[in-house]
Symmetry: C3
Subunit: 266 residues, 3 copies
């Protein structure tokens, strides 16, 4: 396992208006004044575990080895859901056990999972509504200072899985769905480059979404005119529907969950 | 007084679009390259001194001792309102003298208040529209480097108070109001746990807001079904009206200032 | 040229929801763990090169000498547009060559412009949709560590210019336009103080915008009643139309591009 390096990332659905994120950073710096904090996103829709899982899954591997990734999208705060810390080859993760780590779990293996039961590393008073401040921030701070994950509680074997929806692949088609719409209105699907290339090889194909048909892949957004949809593999290896300097989501009027199909032509 | 540790927090109504916050950080780092900057909120509604005061009041005590808290919600910028620096046991505050520090003043005592009159610690040219950049940022930077507050100007005795609205407490009821609605649509009142417990002891009670009645306290958000309102003491000790994975503010269609009452039952 | 000091600013149209900005910071810290990152803005409207250029032009000079300013507003990502690094007396700039540096170019001279062609300083795999992560972030990180700009590629002589619109000045008037509307609804024009003072000297004048007339300059926002428009030179030396604790943009219902005239009275 990589040594902690002081880096801590934060991913929450807290927004930036109310001071919640600032307070968690204050708690972290109070415990580890040398911590280096990086926001991944605080604009996850309230209680949207799937999106948090997707974004963290795309992002975590771009950070320095030893980074502690803290995630607080936590509809069950104060109930009996568990809170956990996870050790992997290069990173630590601190989160509620509600499936929010499944985007990570798809990509790398977990060496050790600890249930956070040792109150010694919490704030002295733990509320029932803000475990981000009272539990996740201090535990992340101690990990970022080099505390062994073994000190945090009891080892457990399983995490709740809420795997992101998987595409259905058969001989002549892949049926997936839109799992994220980004700031530019680009539609990111759960169809990845490897599955696509394995299916297509040298055959012709069509990509179908919301009644629209695209029959080739673009190499860049600028490849197409601004009123036309294009299909491209995005920088995370997922099939994406986009439009040059335009919002594919608005052109198609679709939402997360919209089906998308790749079909072989005769 | 705690020694300055390089930490500076920022609370403004500047938003994050125009680069104003980045510019202030550039000014601070130019004076103190070792500063460590933490955003509390920049999404305070324009000129909303009450909310800035509430959020800073909730947040300031979670930061490392020696932190300089800088607040710039400043409708009177360029007029004859004063600008001040305040020393307390553990923190410094730098702000316009317009009531924005009253949420802090409710909680801790001020050791020394200085009017910022020594231009030596301002930027060389001071505009009439951006004291955040020209006065508050450089003064905060010098404080964070360890400059004595005495160097900043003239000692004064009083700050403008604009105390947040206080609840009315009598023998059988407390009448308060909603003072903040957070990102989750939770309604935070000005009724605190201590006043509540002192009134209720072992009696039955009802909580009334906007024609709705709640007659017990929940222990967590997950305690209730998603279409029902719940009452809970939040992580700052205030009575809060919420809904499990839902927005109480939308269910009740209320705004800041909405009355809320706790009434003893016969 | 100033020595790199580890400071890197980020200006993009990426928003803060999707984790893109966090990922770029992860890439920078992976290369230079001592970097100090400052956000200027990530809320530039998608593909709005003019606004990015305006905001960076206003902001860059307030940062410590040696700062690397990285800008990613990049509609041509993955096409054949160039990417460049620029050396100036006090700063470095890293950006696509699409005019986004013209606000800087108006103010200071460029010592050296390098086309980013040396892939050694990119991420090992370069996508066609996220050069912020794969090219601009790593190049900025290496510059912030002290790498010579000469190592980055080939020297070129010209950058694409897309100069912000300039006002028309004649004997009795200046005709400009609104080039930015800020978070407070203030209307910032392209008419600067120097041109204004040179024209007006001691003459009377009127400022005309959207059928409204203002005939004097205010010294501060608080100078006027809240329902009246006022004209003021802002903290960057530009003529601004504002309203005390009110949104001039909403009062006038105007957008960027709206003409504004200063006319001498007989």
């Amino acid at each position: 396992m990589s040594k902690a390096t002081g880096f801590v990332t934060l991913t929450t659905d807290f927004g930036l208006s109310d001071g919640f994120v600032g307070i968690m950073k204050g708690v972290i710096y109070s415990i580890n004044p040398s911590a280096k904090l990086i926001d991944i996103s605080h604009d996850i829709a309230s209680q949207d575990i799937q999106t948090a899982s997707f974004i963290l899954g795309s992002a975590f591997s771009f950070f320095p080895k030893g980074t502690v990734h803290m995630v607080v999208v936590d509809p069950g705060v104060g109930s009996d859901r568990s809170a956990v810390a996870v050790e992997t080859d290069n990173y630590y993760f601190v989160a509620p056990d509600n499936g929010v780590l499944s985007g990570v779990m798809e990509r790398i293996s977990f060496i050790k999972v600890m249930e956070l039961s040792n109150k010694k590393h919490f704030l002295p008073e733990v509320s029932n509504t803000f475990h981000g401040r009272d539990i996740f921030a201090p535990v992340s701070a101690y990990l970022s200072k080099g505390l062994s994950i073994d000190e945090l509680g009891t080892k457990i074997e399983n995490l709740m899985e809420r795997v992101l929806p998987e595409p259905e692949i058969n001989q002549d088609s892949i049926t997936g769905e839109i799992i994220h719409i980004d700031k530019f209105g680009n539609l990111i699907s759960n169809i990845d480059k490897k599955s696509f290339e394995k299916l297509v090889v040298n055959r012709d194909f069509t990509i179908e979404i919301a009644g629209d048909i695209i029959n080739h892949l673009s190499r860049s957004y600028a490849d197409s005119s601004t009123d036309k949809l294009l299909a491209i593999f995005d920088s995370f290896g997922k099939l994406e529907i986009a439009a040059n300097q335009n919002r594919a989501a608005d052109i198609l009027r679709v939402h997360r969950g919209e089906p998308i199909r790749v079909v072989m032509r005769r």
